[in-house]
């Protein structure tokens, strides 16, 4: 009660104070910063950086991991998931266009906060002349940067002071609050104590009166309100400190936004949420008494941006009382301040856009500095006046905004100026064949929709229009549109000029709703344009970097590659000096994001221009005295260079290490950490060479791991972990032992990052040569297993992987028995993920090292455990268990024999299980262990299994059926056709109907099995059955999967061999009449294969006879078969060339292009096959028919013809072709010459030397000697 009353009292007092403060004119001295303008910790609560450890930086692995992690929630056969799905052939349809922003995390989204800075001065072009004042020079940028930093530091200091102030009070308050909770009797005494003791309770009062918001003449800095030691808060001291801290830290009006997230608003003052009121009264108080404001706020919970955010403009009463975006204020009112937006959590791209736009404007409208004014005005004839003493600059944002004549100044309706041409809300038909515009494009391309006459525009504007049109076509157009537009942009790049181009392109890339594809296209535009503009890009380097740098940390691999390519091209175009000048200011930017991307960009520059060029700069940066950020970034650049360039750092390793080594003893912890990480990256890149370069850092690293703790220690350990493998065996052993003490200590660390690093380092150390097995066994293993082999490790995917890898590495040193013996019991653990981890480890260890180490007892335990784990699995990811089972059984080999009956019993039982998954696993297991069963001479058992599987062929689930067929195939493969039970003659008829199944897995396994039977055991099946199968097989040619089609075509060959080619051929030739192209192509391949397996003479007569069918498809099919046939039979073709020549003659004279094309390719294969076998007469005859086709223009035809001529060149020698060529090389018609020179060129490339003997004799002409007298010499 008492607490409540004092809350109310306090509330009243607060509002009274506040009113008094705002009403009195704020004297300059007491004005604190306008924290809603200058508020600085917008990113509070966000991740400040991407984790520096582990695979930081190497995002390649990251992305893959991420992908895998995401995929793990998908269900489906892993074999399908692993297929790269990006290729366009995916028949599932088109990929849905995805917006980049949707998959970005908060950190990556910060790219949108960056400002595309104005163009900068290019000292190369301006030469000696002093740059125009309006152009930003390097000095300007650096000055701005310094200012920014100062501001930041100042704000931090202010915030820190508040923090301290507050924490003092909180401590006092907490102490006071604790007491009553402790004991009732003590409570009273405590009170008394307080009054006596100046330290606790009364201290609150004291600080309160001394805090400066109480001072009558001070404007309350917003944060001050937080400092109020309200009794309510004393009572409510339970919330954890961390939470309180978040509230208290650097108070910003934007924080308000959080208030609706706190549900405990019932008693406003009593909850921490109450603190957020601070921001409102300040502005609201202008017109309204506080309590009312409060009520309205809570009542209207679903406030939209408009009023929930303390927009300065809200100062107008009308606006303040209208929640939400009202039409009065217009769009501008809805514009929230940057800070406000950022704290509202997830925001829409549109908001981002507004925010960015606003910042851009803000940047341009920034007040002119004295220097700038000096530069603008002439020095003489003007005088700088002192401002009148009564002048007080407006500092309060509310008044500032009011003073500015903005459209929202009048809350009344004003008739908008009419522009009939602009209808931005209605998607208008774009004029002049322009592609469709998305709503968000209007902002950029809106001008294109205006119907203003082109002629009325200035040349500049026209150019701009033109660029916009082209860009729009590139961005949204159809592929042909895009292509021509891209070409035009490239060709006219210099004509358009760098400025107009980049001013249009770059903002587009910052568009928040950009999609992957669009970004790709725009980046492509930049790339092409860069190439053309060359040194003209210099003033725009920074702009381009701002846009492109975010690509370097994109999660998409190709985006990263693209980003690297652009930056690399950019640095080649602009040159090192410009690149450094552009990026130097960003190196110690206050924003970590900027520094991170800049470091990555710098590493790309280093790889483009060479490390040596960058070394002096890096050296200077890494030794920067001015700020730790610069040093941090410099060292990070080295790290990124190592990651990006890999072993290419070796030549410069020593200098790179020297540059960064002093960072190990830097005063700043972050610098020390990044230095260690960079050393780790360098060592990793250099492995296994370059230990001598690291000599100088060994000692500091060593000292470091003894003196540091936490994150720094982790980084140091990582560095050592990567350096140890580079050492000689002797040193490695010594150092490993030294570092192991600390590693073992850190085994217990609860920190996840530390765990991963420790595991990694253990892996590195253990795999090093000089480390003895005994040492590992005795000193490392016990602790290692005790701390890491726990269930919790199996839950996180990365821990899991790392642990398995490390354990496998240890096993490589200490042997199978030790490791397996320690974990085998865990196969029966009750946690499935843990069992899976154990299984995976055992699988890897056993398949690496075999099972000879495993003794009888362990063997028993192992089989027992595996069976248990296999039977108990419930998750979808069955492969681990299957692979594990397979690996162990295969490793044990004949030793499994005693357990086989048990295993088979299990399999049989599970084959009968209700769950499809279980049945499938059982069948899969059979195919894994079939080979071992054979080794154990368990043929009877296998036969039995075969019968069982045969009975299950009626399976409904295609996945399971596929596995059953696979198991049958495995058994057939192992025990052979004759011993197979059920006998082949029973099995095959059962398979025929299954061939009709359209499921891919079923098809694949079935065709494999049938093909295997046709190959090895065709005689067990009557010919009629095979014919039936032939018909089924034709259908299989339609399969999507190439493997299936290939297996089918081969099967045709086997069947034809078994039952003779006639019937099969008849079937196939009939199939040539079908419409579907893929089917026909496969048929022709099958015909060729039949011809190959059964000798061509059995097939050719029928095939050539079929050519007489007056049907295009059939004739083409025959020709294609001939082409394949001659390709397959090679030099056997010499026996058939005279037979087929008349047919080819006819085809080469046919009107149909495809006839000629296919015949030409047949001629090519024929010629290549019979080269050197004395068939020149026939070939020359064919050449005479091929030659007239050289003027064809259809690409496929001309290609085939040219290849035929090449083939004939090989068979006939270049002289013949040269003689054909000579008639046209100097033909009066250019078109003719072009073709002949083309032929000549390929002839020349193919037989340059041989042609020397055949060149025509040329007569000398005047002074020129053309004859070759040497050729005439005769002995």
């Amino acid at each position: 009660m008492e607490a409540d009353r004092s809350t109310v009292d306090n509330e009243i007092k607060t509002s009274v104070d506040e009113r008094r403060n705002t009403e009195s004119v704020a004297p300059l001295s007491s004005v604190t910063f306008d924290s809603d303008l200058y508020e600085d910790n917008r990113f509070e609560g966000y991740v400040r950086s991407i984790p520096v450890n582990e695979d930081e930086g190497e995002a390649d692995g990251d992305a893959a991991l991420l992908f895998r992690r995401r995929m793990s929630s998908y269900t489906g056969p892993k074999s399908l998931i692993d297929i790269p799905r990006a290729d366009g052939e995916d028949d599932s349809g088109f990929k849905k266009p995805s917006r980049i922003i949707d998959r970005e995390d908060e950190y990556r989204r910060r790219r949108l906060d960056r400002i595309i800075s104005p163009a900068r001065n290019d000292p190369f072009t301006s030469g000696e002349t002093t740059p125009d004042a309006s152009v930003r020079t390097y000095a300007d940028v650096m000055r701005e940067q310094a200012l920014q930093r100062q501001k930041e530091e100042l704000l931090k200091a202010v915030a820190k002071k508040h923090e301290e102030e507050k924490s003092n009070k909180t401590v006092g308050a907490a102490a006071a609050a604790e007491a009553p909770v402790a004991a009732a009797s003590q409570k009273r005494r405590n009170r008394w104590d307080q009054s006596q003791d100046s330290d606790s309770g009364s201290a609150t009062k004291k600080t309160k009166s001394s805090s400066d918001w109480d001072a009558p003449d001070s404007t309350p800095g917003i944060g001050r309100w937080d400092a109020t030691p309200t009794p309510a808060r004393v009572g409510d001291a339970t919330p954890s400190i961390s939470r309180r801290n978040r509230w208290d830290e650097t108070p910003t009006p934007g924080r308000l936004a959080d208030s609706d997230a706190t549900p405990a608003a019932a008693t406003p003052g009593a909850t921490p949420a109450g603190m957020t009121w601070d921001a409102t009264p300040k502005l609201g108080v202008l017109a309204t008494p506080t309590p009312k404001r409060q009520r309205s706020r809570w009542d209207e919970t679903p406030l939209s941006m408009g009023s929930a955010t303390p927009i300065p403009g809200v100062g107008t009463p009308a606006a303040a009382f209208t929640p939400g975006i009202t039409p009065i204020g217009g769009v501008d009112l809805a514009t929230p301040t940057p800070g406000a937006i950022n704290l509202r959590g997830p925001m829409t791209p549109e908001q981002y856009n507004l925010l960015k736009w606003e910042r851009d404007i803000e940047e341009r409208n920034r007040p002119l500095t004295d220097e700038e004014l000096d530069a603008m005005f002439p020095h003489e004839g003007y005088k700088i006046l002192e401002p009148p003493s009564s002048y007080v600059p407006i500092r309060t944002p509310a008044r500032k905004l009011l003073a500015t004549p903005t459209p929202l100044g009048t809350p009344l309706y004003s008739i908008p100026e009419e522009n009939r041409g602009q209808q931005f809300d209605v998607p208008k038909e774009a004029p002049g064949g322009l592609p469709f515009m998305k709503p968000e494009d209007y902002q950029y391309f809106g001008a294109l929709l205006n119907d203003e006459e082109e002629e009325q525009l200035s040349p500049e504007e026209q150019k701009e229009r033109k660029i916009m049109k082209l860009l729009l076509k590139v961005k949204n157009g159809t592929p042909p549109q895009r292509k021509t537009a891209l070409r035009q942009l490239t060709d006219k790049a210099r004509e358009f000029g760098a400025g107009p181009l980049f001013n249009k392109i770059l903002p587009l890339l910052m568009q928040p709703t950009l999609e992957d594809q669009e970004r790709h296209l725009l980046v492509k535009v930049i790339d092409r344009v860069l190439y053309k503009l060359d040194e003209l890009v210099r003033p725009f380097v920074h702009k381009i970097l701002v846009v492109i740098e975010p690509l370097l940390i994109d999660e998409d691999y190709y985006a990263r590659v693209e980003g690297r390519e652009i930056i690399s091209n950019l640095s080649k175009a602009a040159g090192l000096a410009t690149m450094i000048a552009a990026m130097r200011p960003d190196i110690d930017n206050i924003d970590e994001y900027v520094r991170n991307t800049t470091a990555r960009a710098f590493s790309v520059v280093a790889s483009a221009l060479g490390i040596p060029a960058l070394l002096p700069f890096l050296k200077a940066v890494c030794q920067s005295k001015k700020s730790w950020q610069a040093r941090h970034t410099g060292i990070k650049i080295v790290q990124q260079i190592a990651i990006l360039m890999g072993c290419a750092v070796l030549p410069h390793l020593r200098s790179l290490v020297e540059i960064i080594e002093h960072g190990l003893s830097d005063e700043n912890q972050k610098v020390r950490t990044i230095t260690a990480l960079s050393l780790a990256a360098l060592a990793e890149a250099a492995a296994p060479y370059g230990i001598e370069s690291f000599d100088s850092v060994l000692k500091p690293l060593w000292k470091g791991i003894r003196s540091h703790r936490g994150k720094v220690l982790a980084a140091f350990l990582k560095a050592i972990g990567f350096i140890i493998p580079l050492m000689d065996a002797l040193y490695a052993s010594y150092y490993t032992k030294e570092v192991m003490v600390i590693l073992i200590r850190e085994f217990q660390s609860p920190d996840e990052e530390m765990k991963k690093i420790v595991l990694k380092v253990v892996k590195q150390c253990v795999s090093t040569e000089g480390v003895e097995a005994d040492y590992i066994r005795n000193d490392i293993l016990p602790e290692f297993f005790r701390n890491f082999w726990v269930r919790r490790m199996a839950l996180d995917r990365r821990n899991y992987k790392q642990l398995v890898d490390t354990t496998v590495e240890i096993a490589n040193k200490v042997g199978v028995a030790d490791i397996v013996g320690r974990i085998v019991e865990d196969l029966k653990d009750e946690s499935e993920p843990y069992r899976r981890m154990v299984m995976e480890t055992i699988e890897k260890v056993v398949s690496n090292l075999g099972a000879s180490d495993i003794d009888a007892r362990l063997e028993e335990l192992l089989i027992d455990g595996i069976l248990y784990a296999f039977q108990e699995q419930t998750s979808d990811d069955a492969n681990v268990m299957l692979n594990g089972f397979g690996a162990v059984v295969n490793a044990l080999g004949q030793r499994v024999k005693p357990y086989l009956p048990q295993i088979c019993g299990t399999i049989k039982w599970r084959l009968n299980n209700k769950s499809a998954k279980v049945r499938q696993q059982a069948a899969d297991l059979i195919s894994r262990i079939a080979v071992v069963m054979k080794q154990c001479h368990e043929e009877q058992l296998m036969g039995h299994l075969g019968v069982v599987l045969y009975e299950y062929l009626g399976e409904e689930y295609p996945e399971v059926l596929g596995s059953i067929l696979g198991a049958l195939k495995a058994i057939v493969n192992v025990i052979g056709m004759t011993k197979m039970t059920p006998p082949i003659k029973d099995l095959l008829p059962r398979l025929t109907p299954i061939l009709k199944n359209r499921h891919e897995k079923v098809q694949e396994n079935c065709i494999d099995l049938v093909g295997r039977i046709a190959d090895r055991g065709a005689e067990f099946v009557p010919a009629r059955e095979w014919m039936r199968i032939c018909f089924e097989l034709l259908e299989m040619l339609k399969a999507h999967k190439k493997g299936i089609r290939r297996a089918t075509v081969n099967t045709f060959g086997y069947i034809a061999k078994a039952i003779g080619p006639q019937d099969v051929l008849a079937t196939l030739l009939n199939n040539l009449k079908v419409q579907e192209r893929q089917n026909r192509v496969c048929t022709t391949v099958a015909i060729a294969i039949v011809a190959e397996t059964c000798s061509p003479f059995t097939v050719l007569p029928a095939l050539m006879n079929e050519y007489r069918v007056p049907e295009l498809n059939v004739q083409n099919g025959v020709l294609k078969s001939l082409s394949f046939l001659f390709e397959y039979i090679g030099e056997m073709g010499k026996d058939y060339i005279y037979a087929v020549t008349p047919l080819l003659e006819d085809a080469l004279m046919d009107r149909d292009l495809v006839h000629r094309q296919t015949a030409a390719s047949a001629v090519k294969h024929l010629a290549l096959g019979v080269a050197g076998l004395g068939c020149e007469d026939a070939l020359i005859h064919l050449l005479n028919y091929v030659w007239p086709n050289i003027f064809e223009t259809s690409p496929h035809v001309i290609n085939a013809v040219m290849e035929a001529i090449e083939g004939l060149r090989v068979a006939l020698g270049p002289a013949v072709i040269l003689n054909y060529c000579l008639q046209g090389l100097f033909h009066p018609a250019r078109k003719v010459r072009e073709v002949y020179w083309k032929i000549y060129n390929s002839l020349y490339i193919g037989a340059q030397d041989a042609l020397v003997a055949f060149y025509p004799m040329l007569n000398d002409e005047g002074n020129n000697i053309y004859s070759r007298p040497e050729m005439m010499m005769f002995l």
Binding site: N1199, F1226, N1241, Y1244, V1252, N1263, N1264, Y1266, M1273, L1275
Partner: protein, 87 residues
């Protein structure tokens, strides 16, 4: 460039020309072609030792001299290029 050229080796004519100096195009004149032929010939003579030996015997020169001569002739095998007729 024609559509048909896109798929074959001529698609990169410039590249081709750079790699194989002896390749030509529709505007090659008699002189340029002859220069290429001559150079190829000399290169071939020098490259095939038996051929060099044959010429050496025929001309009654040492093989080394022959080789040197051929190499020298490769500089301007056909003399200076004829004056361009401007039309």
């Amino acid at each position: 460039m024609q559509v048909s050229d896109r798929f074959n080796i001529n698609s990169q004519l410039e590249h081709l020309q750079a790699k194989y100096v002896g390749t030509g195009h529709s505007d090659v004149n008699r002189f340029e072609w002859a220069v290429n032929i001559q150079r190829d010939s000399y290169a071939s003579y020098v490259g095939h030792y038996p051929l060099l030996a044959y010429f050496a015997i025929a001309e009654n020169e040492s093989i080394g001299r022959e080789r040197y001569n051929f190499m020298q002739k490769m500089l301007l095998p056909c003399g200076l290029p004829p004056e361009k007729e401007d039309d």
